[in-house]
Subunit: 145 residues, 2 copies
């Protein structure tokens, strides 16, 4: 494990990672993770979940997304899956609230353009699309809304 940087490998940390890995692309709140980890480890505290998530975030093992619904959500990082850091973005349906992942490398050109135009050195980006998913579009048309 990457934790051999002076950090301890605890059961709690492993379980948080495990739960996130088992729920890839699911955008879980700290509370969600807490409930699932508790099934295997009932004595865990919510504060530990928060502290672990902060740590994993700093280590780039998890990503954080904010769907503007009042709580921050976490998902396992893409680099966990392969070697190259592939980004993915989110399509958020304003009607049903579901979130769809969208793989993409199309922003690289835009990043280079920004660096040239402004001198800002881009390290990372986050992109969200808001709209309506196919199912909700269909429903709305059937219902003639």
């Amino acid at each position: 494990m990457l934790k051999e940087k002076g950090l301890k490998v605890t059961n709690q940390r492993l379980l948080v990672l495990e739960v996130l890995a088992e729920h890839r692309d699911q955008h879980m709140t700290a509370e969600d993770i807490y409930d699932l980890v508790k099934e295997d480890y009932p004595e865990i505290g919510l504060a530990t979940i928060y502290r672990t998530l902060q740590l994993l975030l700093k280590m780039q093992l998890v990503d954080r997304i904010n769907l503007d619904d009042g709580c921050v959500r976490y998902e396992i990082g893409d680099l966990f899956e392969g070697e190259i850091k592939h980004h993915h973005h989110h399509l958020i349906c304003k009607t049903c609230g579901r979130v769809f992942p969208f793989r993409d490398d199309l922003l690289d050109g835009l990043e280079r353009h920004i660096e040239q135009a402004t001198g800002f050195h881009v390290l990372d980006h986050e992109l969200k699309f808001y709209g309506q998913c196919r199912e909700c579009m269909k429903k709305e048309n059937n219902g003639c809304v």
Copy 2:
């Protein structure tokens, strides 16, 4: 004013808009706005600020951005400035924390691509770039960090 939709034009609402217009591109928290409005209207309550911001958000007169620093921020909407809705995005410096606006229409092609590929109907998007601004890059090089 657009408020002729059954809504009342109150001093409080005008002042919130005014403060936002005077601080274009400044990403203010509700608290920031509260303090500034209080100068002209000391009896205003923070709850009114929140309620007004929600209203203006729904009316698309203000935009909301989240810089992941624990509080939501607001800025006056772009469509307030012209006719066509021009989007702008944010370059966020991880070193000094400053936020730079970045005008862009380059995502339109990407939106069309998404609609074709996934059937998701895109209505809006939000894009944030994280990195290091020119000044912080310079400082870091001078200091040989």
